[in-house]
């Protein structure tokens, strides 16, 4: 495959990613929209590349335990662990089913999920609902408080938000992100503006919701929950990014990375022209700032599907748009500019819709090109939350991480084999 052909393939892959128009269309029960979850007796989706129980890190195991109890497969932690260890629960990456989930990313059959439809190309993507801060399943917490919140989200919040989304005629997440980037978000670690926009767009429809559970108290609680949670929109954003990235996947000959994901043990990528294969290696521990009382010693290796935002040209790639969180990179707005400028080195295109004010509204660096990563030895930057290494403790900080260079090198070698480049 000559350079021109690779460039053409990459042009097509990135064009499709950029042209994709992800609309949040509704909320559904996971098993209804993800057939694989209905097709097995006990199956859970998780973040990152494939992994089995024995290699799972603390937070992922905790989330699995919580989900098993939530689904009624087990009554206790011990029962859930026994089931998992005995191979009685199937594990499959979210990414294999058009889904993505932050941190542990565990998605079980009866959980409510956002449904995002790419109006341009027709593909769909899914993500679970964001639980907010504190003790949450995505960080591996699974006590009664966590499960009660999940049940409230499923039973009360989801129907109200679903009716609101539908009443609003769907929400254009790409447009929301474009606006949020101009309000100081980068779409991954900082979603303050985007979450407020999300709440604003839904608020009138929540207020007027006809959902059966929607009494005044429930509506108020949902509005408060959405408004208080600066990560409310993260999950629809991730699903939108997944819908955009998937639109660019499967282009023969393309070297564009279409998925980056971590399961708390491994960091994996997929490449547009390399089919369903994952290229994975042990995930690093993020370099970051820690909440009071925690340090790097508490940190779990990198975890979560939220790197789909960087894959789609957001997150650390759009760092220059989010000066308020530059401290993760080291402290000065100029460092944020440099973070984004560095990512242009390894991307193939610039986004038409996601633009960065401090760079004269230049399009965000979009479409990681495997060739450039390997050639320059520059790995993608990722902004991320940091999970405690033990299940159930939650977030302990936030910072910056990069995938291991080996996975890009592996992918390049695989590309050479597949396309007969010796």
């Amino acid at each position: 495959m000559k350079q021109l052909r690779i460039d053409e393939a990459n042009q097509e892959a990135t064009r499709r990613m950029i042209d994709a128009r992800p609309m949040l269309s509704t909320i559904a029960t996971a098993a209804e929209v993800i057939p694989a979850l209905a097709a097995a007796e006990r199956r859970l989706l998780h973040a990152g590349p494939p992994i089995e129980w024995d290699r799972m890190s603390g937070p992922l195991r905790g989330a699995v335990i919580g989900a098993a109890i939530f689904e009624g497969w087990a009554k206790s932690e011990a029962e859930a662990e026994k089931l998992a260890a005995a191979g009685e629960i199937d594990f499959d990456p979210c990414h294999h089913h058009g889904a993505v989930g932050p941190m542990a990313g565990v998605t079980s059959p009866s959980m409510a999920v956002y449904v995002v439809e790419n109006e341009t190309h027709g593909n769909r993507a899914f993500s679970n609902l964001n639980e907010g801060y504190g003790k949450v399943l995505r960080y591996g917490a699974y006590d009664a408080e966590v499960l009660d919140k999940l049940r409230w989200m499923n039973d009360e919040m989801a129907p109200i938000v679903k009716s609101a989304i539908e009443a609003a005629g769907g929400i254009d997440i790409r447009a929301l992100l474009a606006e949020a980037l101009h309000m100081g978000d980068e779409g991954h670690n900082r979603n303050k503006a985007g979450s407020l926009l999300f709440a604003k767009l839904l608020a009138p429809h929540i207020a007027g919701s006809a959902a059966s559970a929607a009494d005044a108290g429930a509506r108020r609680k949902v509005l408060e929950f959405l408004g208080d949670n600066a990560l409310s929109v993260l999950n629809p954003v991730m699903a939108a990014c997944k819908a955009m990235a998937d639109a660019g996947h499967g282009i023969e000959g393309s070297t564009i990375v279409t998925a980056m994901a971590r399961n708390g043990t491994d960091f994996g990528i997929r490449v547009s022209g390399l089919g369903a294969d994952w290229f994975a290696a042990p995930a690093a521990t993020p370099d970051g700032l820690y909440f009071s009382g925690f340090s790097a010693a508490d940190a779990n290796p990198d975890i979560g599907d939220s790197t789909i935002t960087e894959t789609a040209g957001l997150g650390a790639f759009a760092m220059a748009a989010a000066p308020a969180i530059v401290s993760f990179v080291s402290g000065k707005p100029s460092d944020a500019l440099e973070a984004t400028l560095e990512m242009y080195e390894i991307t193939f295109a610039e986004h038409d819709h996601f633009t960065i004010p401090p760079l004269d509204f230049r399009g965000s660096p979009t479409g990681i090109d495997l060739r450039r990563v390997v050639e320059l030895g520059i790995t993608p930057r990722v902004n991320t939350g940091i999970a405690h290494r033990e299940a159930g403790i939650g977030q302990v900080g936030a910072g910056l991480v990069r995938p291991p260079i080996e996975i890009f090198e592996q992918a390049l070698v695989a590309y050479a084999e597949r396309y007969d480049l010796g």
């Binding site: 690779i6 009071s292 308020a324 000065k332 560095e342 080195e345 010796g422």
Partner: protein
């Protein structure tokens, strides 16, 4: 007392409350981490005083005793230290630690690749390449593909890469100066190692870095100056490279209105390349001083071409020409239509033939002779221009010397004249006691017959005095009457050949290098940071690429990338 509190009972806790002082949690986390690093500090907590955050502080032994009367809008700063004074000292640092660097948000980003430098600095027309040799061709190729001029300082670039690079550069209308090009001065800006030379009317094209510097410095010392000094790399005038860059540089200087005189400096060039390059030099229509170190042609001047025997002499001559009337040039570019055919020299005088051969080897290619001149093919090898000493042993076995008996020469003259590939025939005629008593009597009809063929030129070098028995002026008259062009010195003979049969300047495939690219240049520097600093020191717009070997130097991956393009 809980275990945790117990653990900290020897510690000292101090706190500070800042009411209504909202700060982003990241600022708080940063401050907290900075406080915790101070001497004597065990831990620190900096939070907005929400109930949840206060619980967190308590869990870490950071909750101040007593009722604090704080709310969620208040900033609570707590330090736990080995001593009360360390805790107080830490709190005193809070303002300093929270103060942000005043540096503006302007980026000092250094591109990591030529590709991104080209995107961020689209106006930079020059790329300086000084990366290790095995990577240099790749970087230069990328620059040429982007239609940028390349100053290729790197050495250890293969000749094949050089040929290929320059072939592309000629097609794109950009210069590749190098490889192993140490110096150049473009519009007053020194690239690589360069002397600070005042600007002036003299352009330099040099296949030798120190040669360029020596000439430029001397020009400056003489009070004149340099318009542009273009390096070509030491191998440019080799047979393989064919003077690709020198030809472009001469063409540029020909079009440059500031340049009135050109100096061409080179180590000994390949003969066929010398012919091409001197044709281009003649085509400039400007005086060109040629300093070919080591191999001086045995003549001072051919038309506007001046040959200098040393670098110093080249500089002196150039300044002289620039200060004078421009060397008597036409001011318009000479157009050489190329010779009508090959040159044949049929000499009776061996030394005349030798001197002619030595001079013509710089102008004619391919050239052969039976004189054993270095760089000139032996007689009988190949086809092309040919200079023969008919007085050589091979022709005089069993017959008299041609100065006495012209039979052999006349027959050869007739034979060459009938060859459709021959366009110029050179003869010599040596008069004096002992020579043929009336050579014109034999030559005149032979010349007349030969010139019956259209397009043929016959030049005759006559050596003699007015006192010679053959009647010098009478001989000349008769030769001229027959149609021959008569000259009295080898210089004139060479000039005659060059103006009639010199190599045509072939620029069919060349795209002209834009003249404006030589002014107000801006650069991308890939490689030695020293060169960036030098350019920045000249107040030049320059961006440094933070270059590293591709794929971390891993050969297997580099090979794959090379195949992917």
């Amino acid at each position: 007392m809980t275990g945790r509190e117990n653990r900290f009972r020897m510690s000292h806790l101090k706190h500070e409350i800042r009411r209504g002082a909202y700060a982003d949690s990241i600022v708080l986390m940063q401050l907290q981490s900075a406080l915790a690093k101070l001497d004597g500090v065990e831990d620190a907590g900096v939070v907005m005083a929400t109930p949840a955050n206060r619980e967190l502080l308590a869990a870490n032994g950071l909750e101040p005793r007593g009722d604090l009367a704080v709310g969620p809008d208040d900033l609570l700063i707590v330090v736990r230290a080995e001593s009360a004074s360390a805790a107080e000292a830490a709190l005193a640092e809070v303002d300093r630690l929270m103060k942000r660097d005043a540096e503006s948000g302007t980026s000092t980003y250094r591109p990591k690749s030529l590709r991104s430098a080209l995107v961020s600095h689209p106006d930079a027309r020059w790329v300086l390449v000084s990366v290790p040799g095995r990577y240099a061709a790749g970087v230069a190729r990328e620059a040429v593909a982007a239609r940028r001029h390349v100053f290729l300082y790197s050495d250890n670039v293969s000749i094949d890469d050089e040929v290929e690079l320059k072939r592309r550069a000629v097609g794109e209308g950009v210069l590749v100066m190098g490889p192993d090009c140490g110096t150049a001065t473009i519009g007053g800006v020194g690239l690589g190692f360069a002397n600070r030379v005042r600007r002036g009317p003299i352009g330099i094209v040099a296949a030798s870095g120190t040669g360029l510097q020596a000439v430029a410095s001397r020009i400056d010392a003489l009070g004149s100056g340099v318009s542009h000094a273009l390096g070509t790399g030491g191998r440019d005038l080799s047979g393989a490279v064919g003077g690709a860059t020198a030809l472009q540089a001469l063409d540029l200087l020909a079009r440059d209105p500031e340049t009135r005189v050109v100096v061409l400096v080179s180590k000994p060039p390949a003969p066929e390349v010398a012919a091409k390059v001197l044709a281009a030099a003649r085509a400039t229509g400007k005086p060109v001083v040629v300093a070919l170190s080591g191999t001086m042609p045995p003549l001072d001047r051919v038309g506007y071409l001046h040959f200098a025997s040393s670098l110093r002499r080249a500089a002196d001559l150039a300044v002289e020409l620039a200060d004078g009337d421009g060397g008597g040039t036409s001011g318009t570019r000479a157009t050489s239509a190329g010779g009508p055919g090959f040159v044949r020299g049929l000499f009776s005088g061996g030394t005349l033939a030798l001197e002619t051969t030595q001079a013509l080897r710089f102008f004619l290619a391919p050239l052969a002779s039976n004189l054993g001149v270095e760089g000139v093919a032996a007689h009988g090898e190949g086809s092309g221009h040919l200079i023969l000493d008919l007085g050589a042993d091979e022709f005089t076995v069993g017959r008299p010397h041609p100065m006495i008996d012209s039979d052999l020469r006349l027959r050869r003259l007739a034979q060459e004249a009938s060859n459709p590939d021959v366009g110029v025939i050179l003869l010599d005629l040596v008069l004096g006691d002992g020579s043929h008593s009336d050579p014109a009597a034999e030559l005149e009809p032979a010349i007349r017959a030969a010139l019956g063929k259209s397009g043929l030129t016959i030049g005759v070098l006559v050596v003699g005095t007015d006192s010679d028995p053959q009647d010098l002026s009478g001989q000349i008259e008769r030769l001229e009457a027959a149609g021959a062009k008569v000259v009295r010195t080898t210089d004139e003979l060479i000039a005659l050949v060059v103006s009639t049969a010199g190599d045509a300047l072939s620029t069919a495939e060349a795209r002209p290098v834009p003249l404006e690219d030589l002014e107000a240049i801006s650069c991308i520097n890939v490689g030695l940071e020293h060169f960036h600093d030098s350019l920045a020191g000249q107040d030049l717009p320059v961006v440094h690429v933070d270059w590293r070997p591709p794929a971390g130097g891993k050969a297997k991956l580099q090979a794959i990338l090379a195949r992917m393009g």
